[in-house]
């Protein structure tokens, strides 16, 4: 009987900690500011546990029966806590109220458990042993739960099902207690009936968990956030909605998996296919490996050098399954060399030449990024361009940021290059623009790799035609000492949002 009793303590303790972790996690996940959420949730929870312990003194008779009822209540409240919180956030204004009420109720119930259990075992053990045994298993349970939670539960069960699963554990403990303490119990039958009701309720919950999650998340975000990380350099967020995977860097959309092929095929093939024998390619930015995926379609290319500032970015896109599927395991190619470095100083110290250079940086939203769109930068890059080579520059939208687009084209021009601007429609972005630049004339390619989803050979010359509403505007070049582009870009997008 002893070991079974203490196993009960262990399970009960694990459940208690799981509910606390779930509340903290959901609050940080939905509201953000994890330090604040975890601190207040843990604090409130501990305080409520104290309340529970204090209240335990008023329970005098039928301790075991009361314990079983507490377990059943916990099974329901804790088990459905996750689902309730998600739905509360999605459909009500009172998420925080629900959160703290739930935390207080769960805390009080959990706070009642250990004092009750201690009193239940007090006849069998000395006070000294009872305290030692009960607390030992209490803490062991907590350890187990805290390890299970991040390693197994959240990744494999998800938050809604994890809570329900531990609700089942609570209800299971209740049912089991009716047998464990059978001799001291009356009305066993009705207690057991209640246990079965709760257990089946929770089972239904588990069966419908997916529905609950989807219903809630449909209302929470347009997309589900599947990855969010603050690296040393940027805030990376990856979202997924059905088959649409989206990458945001510092909250700017980088691609949507539904239409990124339009962007990346158009970024690479008009330039690269026009070079007679491309052997070496440089990609600046583009840590998602999607441009590299397109470049790998050229068997003549012997070496691709990818320079991206953020090692976390290249690591993410070389390890995360959904992402490596998207870039077709580009990072595993022996032809690819990844360098994590700041592009401008890197190109300055490099002694290599390249037949094709892809410049795919985030838009010039600040002065730091603005440096990578200057005549000084393009001159530095052009020094590494082979005689027959081209470089292509991601140049923001000629439709929404028309001034900026033509400013970039003019900057390349004043850096001493011949420029060939073109554009494409990418549904998730809108009209998007690129500038091809080199020291000689551009002749559209005679052939392009087979199996492209968007581009065909006949379509390429059409990309270079600009309708009047996107036509060239006279703009000054962007220089390090003026940084006109950053201000232009800011104004362009301000005009759109107003």
């Amino acid at each position: 009987m002893g070991i079974l009793l203490f196993l009960t303590v262990l399970l009960v303790a694990a459940c208690g900690l799981i509910y606390e972790l779930i509340a903290g996690t959901i609050a940080s996940y939905l509201i953000g500011d994890s330090v604040f959420q975890f601190s207040t949730v843990i604090g409130t929870y501990m305080f409520a546990m104290g309340l529970g312990s204090a209240l335990s003194r008023y329970l005098n008779r039928g301790l075991i029966q009361r314990f079983i009822w507490i377990e059943l209540m916990l099974g329901v409240v804790g088990g459905f806590s996750s689902a309730l919180l998600m739905l509360a956030f999605a459909f009500t204004q009172g998420f925080q109220l629900v959160l703290y009420v739930l935390v207080v109720v769960t805390g009080i119930l959990v706070g009642l458990e250990i004092p009750l259990l201690m009193r239940i075992v007090q006849d069998r053990y000395t006070f000294r042993d009872a305290v030692a045994h009960v607390l030992t298993f209490d803490y062991l349970g907590a350890l187990g739960a805290s390890l299970l939670f991040p390693i197994l539960l959240v990744p494999h069960l998800g938050l809604v099902r994890s809570a329900l699963f531990f609700g089942l554990v609570n209800a299971g403990v209740a049912l089991w207690s009716t047998y464990l303490f059978a001799p001291q119990l009356m009305e066993k039958r009705s207690l057991r009936a209640a246990c079965f009701v709760v257990l089946s309720l929770l089972c239904v919950g588990i069966a419908k968990a997916k529905l609950i999650t989807i219903t809630a998340e449909d209302n929470i975000y347009a997309d589900e956030i599947i990855f969010a990380r603050d690296t040393k350099y940027q805030h990376i967020v990856l979202t997924r909605f059905k088959d649409d995977l989206r990458l945001f860097l510092n909250s700017h959309l980088q691609f949507s998996s539904r239409d990124e092929y339009r962007y990346h095929e158009t970024l690479i093939h008009p330039g690269l296919a026009a070079i007679p024998v491309p052997r070496t390619v440089l990609v600046l930015g583009g840590g998602d490996g999607l441009a590299v995926r397109e470049i790998l379609k050229y068997p003549q290319v012997e070496k691709i050098t990818l320079v991206d500032l953020d090692p976390e970015m290249t690591k993410l896109f070389s390890t995360q399954t959904m992402l490596t599927e998207l870039n077709q395991r580009a990072f595993e190619s022996p032809r690819l060399h990844v360098i994590n470095a700041d592009a401008f100083p890197w190109i300055d110290q490099s002694s290599e030449n390249f037949d094709f250079i892809v410049i795919d940086f985030p838009d010039p939203t600040n002065y730091a990024l603005g440096k990578l769109y200057t005549t000084a930068f393009y001159r530095a890059v052009a020094r590494h361009l082979g005689a027959q080579g081209f470089m292509v520059v991601q140049s923001t939208s000629p439709m929404f940021a028309r001034d900026s687009f033509w400013c970039i084209a003019e900057t390349l021009h004043q850096a001493g290059l011949r420029t060939f601007p073109y554009h494409v429609y990418v549904p998730s972005f809108g009209e998007w623009g690129f500038v091809l630049a080199g020291s000689h004339d551009y002749i559209p390619p005679k052939s392009i790799p087979a199996g492209l989803r968007f581009l065909n050979q006949e379509g390429i010359p059409l990309l270079f035609q600009f309708p009047p509403d996107m036509a060239r505007l006279p703009m000054p070049a962007n220089q390090l000492n003026t940084q006109v582009l950053v201000r232009t870009y800011e104004n362009d997008w301000k005009d759109i949002s107003h």
Binding site: F344, A368, L372, Q479
Partner: protein, 506 residues
């Protein structure tokens, strides 16, 4: 594993909560590049040991600041390699010295050169040599990056240093009228850089009154306008308008074209020019060589430095001229040479301090401060991501006499100045103490010549500028304006003079 348990617990628990430790940092640092002790040996006329060896060399340059290095540059460019340049400090460069740590190079004093106008032919020639000016175009990466300057006033930021917010109609009219007045002086062509090109007695009467008196006489009483004029004089002359010649005050604003872009700068400030000049003339430079005596002879001079006596035909005296009476035998005392005391500090920042939402700028100034603000050494970096930096903090001590301020520089401890600097910065950057790990301070008792009233049109200067003896003077203090272009001008002119006479007499 030298990782104490306590430290482990502290870091691991901090990591667990996801908080970084936000306690105040221990700030390291010291006084650096101290020159007072050596310099005072001259002042106190200590006796020096007799020379152990003699060396014969046609030309000796005394002083390795921009004037001396420019003289050396010109001599070598004209094919004269047989000369020595004697520098008393461990590092050449003078006011164009720089330092470097694992984050960046940074200046110790002068940190930019305005884009030189057409009249500054020597500067343009040098910049063509150094690749700063190529085919009539200024190298983009040497022009200061945008955003350039910001001024903190009334609890907010503005672009540029000339106050543009909180101006009354009267303020605006005065700024406008003053600009028109400067434009008129500019149009006369008498105010030029280098000063020598337009030097004309026509405006000599402006040199007899102070800039403050001139402003008052012209009815300029706007407080913001006077703050800005004082700021300009503190920045370029280390003096208040009341201690600056009106001619020099007007020169500051009337000597350059209004539409110029720039200035030209590098992470290490003018230390970059010093490095490039040393690449060209370094083999002639001897550092840690304090010249303690110069005696002119019938066909040359004897220069005593350390235990060597140099027997030479010509001396280019490029060190500050105030040293001449202590070094050169029978040199008449100087009276029109007043020098401003300064301190500069380099602050190593482990994280970028909070700037109340402002974009980072190259030069930052606070309206409400006795200091000149600071320059960010990594502003001119090509990196897109900078998480540590060095700020160079400038402070010209202008209240009180230069002698009092020199005394204060010498007497007060590093801790005193460190606190003064942090308190100044704290007014705007609340978290500065959490960001700074090191503050090195350089004290300069005679940092720069001060154009006091009467200094520009001084007979003494006119005589020294003739350069007709065996000792040719070359320091920027001959112009009474301590800027790069003046130092370079006098250095090159002195070299030209020496070359002319060497080749003429041979």
């Amino acid at each position: 594993m030298r990782f104490s348990r306590r430290k482990f617990l502290r870091t691991s628990s901090a990591a667990l909560i996801g908080l970084s430790l936000k306690s105040e940092r221990q700030i390291q640092g010291s006084f650096v590049n101290e020159a007072a002790a050596t310099g005072h040996l001259l002042r106190d006329r200590k006796s020096f040991p007799p020379p152990k060896q003699t060396a014969k060399v046609p030309v000796v340059i005394v002083g390795g600041g921009i004037a001396g290095l420019s003289a050396a540059w010109r001599l070598r460019k004209q094919g004269l390699r047989d000369f020595v340049l004697l520098e008393m400090n461990a590092q050449a460069g003078g006011n164009a010295r720089s330092g470097e740590n694992e984050i960046t190079a940074y200046p110790w004093a002068a940190h930019y050169v305005p884009v030189p106008g057409r009249q500054a032919i020597y500067v343009r020639e040098l910049f063509e040599d150094l690749g700063v000016l190529k085919g009539g175009h200024w190298e983009e990466r040497y022009l200061v990056f945008a955003p350039q300057e910001r001024l903190f006033l009334y609890g907010r930021w503005q672009d540029g240093i000339e106050p543009a917010v909180g101006l009354t109609q009267a303020d605006k009219e005065q700024f406008q009228r003053l600009e028109e007045s400067f434009a008129k002086y500019r149009a006369t062509g008498a105010f030029t850089v280098p000063l020598e090109v337009g030097y004309s007695r026509k405006f000599a009467e402006l040199d007899r009154l102070s800039f403050a008196d001139w402003l008052k006489s012209q009815g300029f009483n706007s407080q913001l306008l006077n703050w800005y004029m004082n700021y300009a004089c503190r920045d370029d002359y280390g003096a208040l308008t009341q201690d600056t010649s009106a001619w020099a005050g007007i020169h500051y604003f009337s000597s350059r074209e209004a539409e110029e872009k720039g200035p030209i700068t590098w992470p290490e400030g003018n230390g970059w020019i010093t490095k490039r000049l040393l690449e060209r003339v370094g083999e002639n430079v001897r550092t840690d060589q304090m010249v303690h005596r110069i005696v002119t002879t019938s066909h040359g001079a004897r220069v005593f430095a350390g235990d060597i006596e140099y027997q030479t035909e010509f001396v280019i005296f490029a060190a500050p001229t105030f040293l001449a009476p202590y070094v050169i035998d029978d040199f008449r005392p100087l009276k029109d040479f007043v020098y401003s005391p300064w301190l500069t500090a380099n602050l190593t920042l482990e994280q970028i301090p909070d700037s109340r939402g402002a974009d980072p700028a190259w030069d930052t100034v606070f309206l409400d401060s006795p200091t000149l603000g600071y320059v960010d050494a990594t502003h001119q970096s090509l990196q897109t991501h900078v998480d540590r930096t060095v700020w160079t903090f400038y402070w010209a001590l202008v209240d009180g006499t230069p002698a009092q301020n020199r005394q204060s520089l010498l007497e007060n401890s590093w801790d005193y100045w460190k606190e003064a600097i942090l308190r100044d910065l704290e007014k705007v950057h609340k978290d500065i103490r959490r960001c700074v790990s090191r503050i090195d301070i350089m004290r300069m008792g005679h940092a720069m010549i001060r154009p006091t009233p009467g200094a520009i049109f001084s007979e003494q200067r006119d005589r020294l500028k003739r350069r007709d003896g065996r000792i040719l003077f070359a320091n920027s203090d001959l112009s009474a304006i301590s800027i790069f272009e003046e130092a370079q001008f006098h250095g090159v002119e002195a070299a030209q003079g020496v070359l002319h006479r060497l080749r003429g007499t041979r």
